[in-house]
Amino acid sequence: MSRKQLADKLGINYQTIGYIERGDYNPSLELALTIAGFFRLPVEAIFSLRPMSPLSSEVFGEPPSESR
């Protein structure tokens, strides 16, 4: 799904999605809940105060460190 499609569904401008992704804009509680509701996920699965780890490392764990 593109930013434009998501923005149209949420009724906001597509640039706003980009600014949120980049961390340049903090959405209001209402918009955060709307986005979470759209993806049917709890809001803390989408927004966090700490940087989120990639989904692959969440599912498969941390890749083994290269040691010889």
Binding site: N13, Q15, G18, E21, D24
Partner: protein
């Protein structure tokens, strides 16, 4: 895609550093044009050449102010069909910064005039001094919020 759309989309994605230079040039352009006109009047240059130099600077200022309006995309006046919460917050910041900028300019001009008049000098209000001030007010007061919006907004995220 029309030429107008191409130009406006290019303006929309101007990096902040370039936008800030354009805003500064737009704000300084008209006072510079008037100063150049006043300065050249006292020289032996041909009056048509002086007028041409003045008009070129004014034309450049008009273009820069128009770029500011195009960049704002109707978000200041509410012409934009849909203003989301970020646009509304940005508009509020742009108006607040315009007010502060205007306050600084008015205080600086008033202080400058006061110091000048305290020194025993006089200021004559005639068409030569009145019209540049009127033109400044007519051009800049409405354009200031759009220019401030172009000044404060961070770079647009790249399209994905």
């Amino acid at each position: 895609m029309s030429v107008t759309t191409t130009i406006s989309s290019r303006i929309e994605y101007l990096p902040r550093s370039s936008r800030r230079m354009l805003v500064a040039a737009a704000l300084l352009g008209y006072p510079v044009a008037v100063a150049v006109l006043v300065g050249l009047k006292h020289t032996s240059l041909n009056k048509w050449l002086i007028l041409a130099v003045f008009l070129v600077i004014v034309l450049a200022v008009t273009v820069l102010v128009t770029v500011g309006y195009v960049y704002a995309r109707g978000r200041i006046e509410g012409r934009c069909a849909r203003l989301d919460e970020r646009d509304l917050a940005l508009r509020q910041q742009a108006y607040a910064l315009s007010h502060r900028t205007l306050a600084v300019i008015l205080i600086a001009v008033t202080a400058g005039l006061t110091i000048y008049l305290t020194g025993g000098n006089t200021v004559r209000l005639d068409a030569n001094s009145f019209w540049p001030v009127v033109m400044w007010v007519v051009v800049y007061i409405p354009a200031l919020p759009a220019l401030m919006l172009a000044w404060i907004e961070t770079d647009q995220p790249a399209d994905v």
